[in-house]
Amino acid sequence: MSALHLNLKVWRQKNQQSKGEFQTYQVEANEHMSFLEMMDVLNQDLIEKKKEPVAFDHDCREGICGACSMVINGKPHGPLSGTTTCQLHMRHFKDGETIVVEPFRAKAFPIVRDLVVDRSSFDRIIQAGGFISVNTGQAIDGNAIPIDKDTASKSFDAAACIGCGACVAACPNGSAMLFTSAKISHLGLLPQGKMEHTRRVNNMVSQMDEEGFGFCSNIGACEAECPKGISLENIARMNRGYIKASLLD
């Protein structure tokens, strides 16, 4: 097990109002640690020195909850494609390397503290229409409604979105269109969600704009950085739905 001696340049910011700055730390990690475990080592060290630990988001540490964030060397969730920060292992870094760690940056993701940003704007987009309205009662048999394999797969691929916000962090426009379109696609492609598709598109897009996210100019950084490989095809689907909604409503 080889030890890694790393120089970390970490963004420290007390709260949303204060001006942040980079602080440099030395950390000794090993190659089997995840990036978050390496951050735990740094924080333990800071606590022992009676210093304020670095605040960062984390929860499941299994790559499925979407809680972890961070922009590592200019890339949301770090250098490994299709991977969240918690699943990024230190063997992908070299001994003696300097790693720059910054929070996700977008106006609609205000910084709470250090590397923690407020992503509740995503919750409000979901609340605006990211659901299907069903009557309560006994659950019907899932296989009672026939759905062809291709459609089911497309919907499932869109449903893989964990809502982490890497798309917004990567986008030079601070746009949330990959996230919103993934949610719209995952519901709208299936028969249960199709009925409310147009209204859902309208409501979710309106909320997205209200939250102050930018507009998509088809740069493609979101798709490249998405840890779940959500495709730009979803944005086109949302655009089709939006044009239809604008013409009909």
């Binding site: 720059v100 977008a106 930018g214 493609g220 490249a224 950085e225 730009l232």
Partner: protein, 210 residues
């Protein structure tokens, strides 16, 4: 943005087809007769006002979009990876500004002279009226190496702008399908190379044949 862009993309092809008559070795006859037709046909006159409007809409919308997106991003990163992106998509606004400046200079140089009626009138056999000699200012401008370079470089920027703009317009309108995405990309690439190249050949050709 996408609809006005697609309109301007179609306009470029029409404009190029007309301009290619400058390459004819007839002392500008075909080009001047074409110029007369373009400025006197009522339908084309109407479309041309639509064109000026679309250029303005495209420029104003683009500027507003850029301002909104800059403010939505807020602050920038200390390290930028730019993974999965190309410079064509990231600098659309910058290319657009250069193209807009080019259009203004281009219109002052030719369109304004035509409209103000300061051009000499020439007559040709088989044409029962005189036509303005628009060929003369083209000849004059493109005998100057500075103008030739300015036009060729502007066309290079136009190629960059079209490279992203063409396929981006389709994506914005939701015309994205795995079966046709490759085709859109190839046609867009060819269009963004061939159209500006066609325009760039004209000043080079006229400079070499002065």
């Amino acid at each position: 943005m996408s609809l006005s862009g697609l309109f301007l993309i179609v306009f470029l092809l029409i404009h190029l087809l007309g301009n290619l008559q400058l390459l004819k070795a007839d002392g500008g006859q075909a080009f001047n007769i074409y110029g007369y037709f373009m400025t006197h046909n009522p339908l084309i006159k109407m479309v041309s006002y639509g064109l000026y409007l679309f250029i303005l809409i495209h420029a104003i919308q683009g500027t507003l979009l850029w301002l909104k997106n800059r403010s939505a991003k807020g602050s920038s990163y200390a390290v930028n990876s730019n993974a999965g992106t190309n410079m064509f998509s990231r600098y659309m606004m910058h290319f657009g500004i250069i193209i807009f400046i080019f259009i203004i200079i281009h219109m002052i140089q030719f369109w304004l002279k035509m409209k103000m009626g300061v051009l000499d009138q020439v007559s040709y056999d088989g044409v029962d009226h005189t036509v303005a000699n628009l060929y003369a200012p083209c000849q004059l401008a493109f005998s100057n190496i500075g103008y030739v370079l300015f036009y060729v470089l502007s066309m290079l920027i136009l190629a960059f702008h079209l490279n992203h703009g063409f396929q981006s317009a389709f994506q914005t309108l939701g015309w994205n399908h795995p079966k046709y995405n490759g085709l859109i990309k190839i046609v867009g690439l060819l269009y963004s190379i061939l159209i500006p190249l066609g325009f760039a050949i004209i000043p080079i050709f006229m400079f070499l044949n002065k």
